[in-house]
Amino acid sequence: MITAVNVSRWYGQVIGVNDINCEIGPGITALLGMNGAGKTTLIRLITGQLRPTTGELRVFGLEPFANPEVYRRMGYCPEIDNFYEHYNGREFVRYLARLDGMNAKEAARRTDEVIDMVGMTERAGKKIAGYSKGMRQRIKLAQAMLHDPDLILLDEPLNGLDPVGRREFMDLLGDLANRGKAILVSSHILFEVEQMTRSLLLLHRGRLLATGDLGIIRSLIDKHPHQIRIDTDEPRRAAELLAGLPNIVSMKFDRAGDSIQLEVREPSAFYDALQDAILDKNLAIRGFSSPDNNLESVFKYLVES
């Protein structure tokens, strides 16, 4: 749905995004990066608010800048927190529904639908000026889903939502993704993104550091061995048994003496060998975990490298 080829955008002498190449298809994709990494610039390029300085960006095969054909199939929830404050939530969403090309009746029906989807039915009649951050966020989400778009871009969508709202919203995104929609979620809160998707675009200082599935990206980072924690009552015996495996780089006992932490290369080979090494030796294992097999670690490794 979105194709970027060598896309760069400069603001005078400051670079916004630099030489971005990527493809985004159906499902949820996370756009990750620290503040100032270029996430909003990339979203503005995709939503056609900006033109690339160099390179080519296509959305549904079309150039997005000021292109109504693209907007017909795209919904956008911006990061900004601005509205027509004297409108109530329903009026605001209904006005944008009219701009989406719906007639008055259809706009009213669809407005009620999306407002219900974001859980704002009871509060949609109040002035936006009196809304809390979370309510504003819900209204922004509602307007992005109005015309049932194939592509939805969400810039920091979970800001201000309470835990229940976040859960509901993530479920909603999951449903949409299951229906074949492409959803691009920009965020710097890794924990939340991780709960939504494993597919990511990682931006750092305007450059695309990594793109694709989290697990694959993690496995490709050779410089940083994977950490594996084994919970057992006999950590020293486990160490003795594991020491012979070739992929182990280091071992560490924890202070409580009930686990051992390993650094390994090629984790899949390690797991294959694990059966023979300890499980067949009657060593009681309470659990396995991989502390760095998460987004935060991947992000940290990539950015630091």
């Binding site: 404050e85 002035k127 000026a129 009196g130």
Partner: protein, 319 residues
């Protein structure tokens, strides 16, 4: 015994806790800095001095070409009949539009933008009262505005004092400098008060600016219309009714003109000093009543500040 390893953990400030003073000055400084960073401030401030520049050229030409051309030239010199204080009055009146634009730049958004950004919540959550805030914002407009008015006036005064004493600059009014000191405060007082009041009523600087501009220009047209009426009636050798004379001063521009005339104690004279008729005041609307316009001026300014003060709330009220 103290540990050989230094304690590098964060320590809170444990010095003496003095109550903060002059909090309004911090707000004023911030406002002034913001204003002076704008290129427009310097452009319009420069434009506001244009009448002094024109006067300098006229005086220079008159001095070097006319007065020095023997007895005939001396007779035709504008310096024979010039009213010096009226030159300051004219320059003051001519600068009004530019000073208004400066006020628009500095004042329209001064509280409105804070309202929109909800910065008042931040200001008033500090040990800073509404009064500190209002005084700070008021001074933030008043000080730059007064400096812009004062600089060319004082420079022009001392230039004339050094160059044209022989033409009566000093003898006409030895107290002129004191009167000018009063006059240069007028735009600062007037514009900072009015713009503060208008700005406090809006959430957007642009809307506040629109209303301020509307107030200025519409009342300006009343002044202009009354000026036209006064001149046309006087040209027919009739006495203009007092409503014309009083309405002439009923504008943002006009009331400052009234105060300046009262301070300088003059009816004014032609804008370009005319040889032989430098003090001609036939078509100038005469000095207004001190008893009416001085209290009116301070009442308007005071009420404006009061409006601003009453509009400022730390808590956003949604109606």
């Amino acid at each position: 015994m103290a540990s050989p390893i230094a304690d590098l953990t964060y320590r809170n400030y444990d010095g003496p806790l003095e109550p903060p003073i002059n909090r309004w000055w911090a707000i004023a400084k911030l406002s002034m800095k913001l204003s002076m960073k704008k290129k427009g401030f310097w452009v319009w401030a420069s434009f506001s001095t244009f009448w002094y520049a024109i006067l300098l050229i006229i005086f220079y030409v008159n001095e070097t070409l006319v007065t020095s051309a023997g007895p005939v030239g001396q007779k035709a010199s504008i310096f024979n009949t010039i009213s010096w204080k009226d030159q300051f009055l004219n320059a003051f009146n001519e600068s009004q539009l530019f000073l208004f634009i400066l006020a628009l730049l500095m004042g329209a958004g001064t509280i409105a933008n804070d309202n929109r950004a909800k910065a008042l919540l931040v200001y008033l959550s500090k040990p800073c009262t509404k009064l500190d805030y209002v005084i700070g914002k008021w001074l933030g407009i008043f000080v730059p505005m007064t400096l812009v008015t004062a600089a060319p006036t004082v420079i022009f005064y001392f230039y004339c004092l050094m160059s044209y004493r022989s033409y009566g600059f000093w003898s006409q009014d030895p107290w002129l400098i004191l009167k000018l000191c009063g006059m240069i405060l007028l735009p600062g007082i007037c514009y900072s008060s009015i713009s503060l009041a208008i700005s406090s009523m809006f959430q957007q600087g642009r809307l506040a600016g629109g209303v301020f501009a509307g107030l200025y220009f519409i009342t300006y047209f009343i002044t202009a219309a009354m000026n036209g009426a006064y001149v046309s009636i006087t040209m027919n050798n009739n006495e203009a009714p007092s409503i014309v004379k009083n309405l002439f001063y009923c504008s943002v521009d006009g009331i400052q003109n009234a105060m300046a005339k009262i301070l300088l104690h003059t009816n004014g004279s032609t804008q370009i000093p005319i040889p032989g008729q430098g003090g001609q005041a036939k078509f100038q609307v005469p000095e207004p009543s001190t008893l009416v316009f001085v209290p009116a001026f301070f009442l308007i300014c005071g009420l404006s500040v009061l409006i601003a003060w009453s509009q400022i709330r730390a808590v956003e009220v949604v109606r």
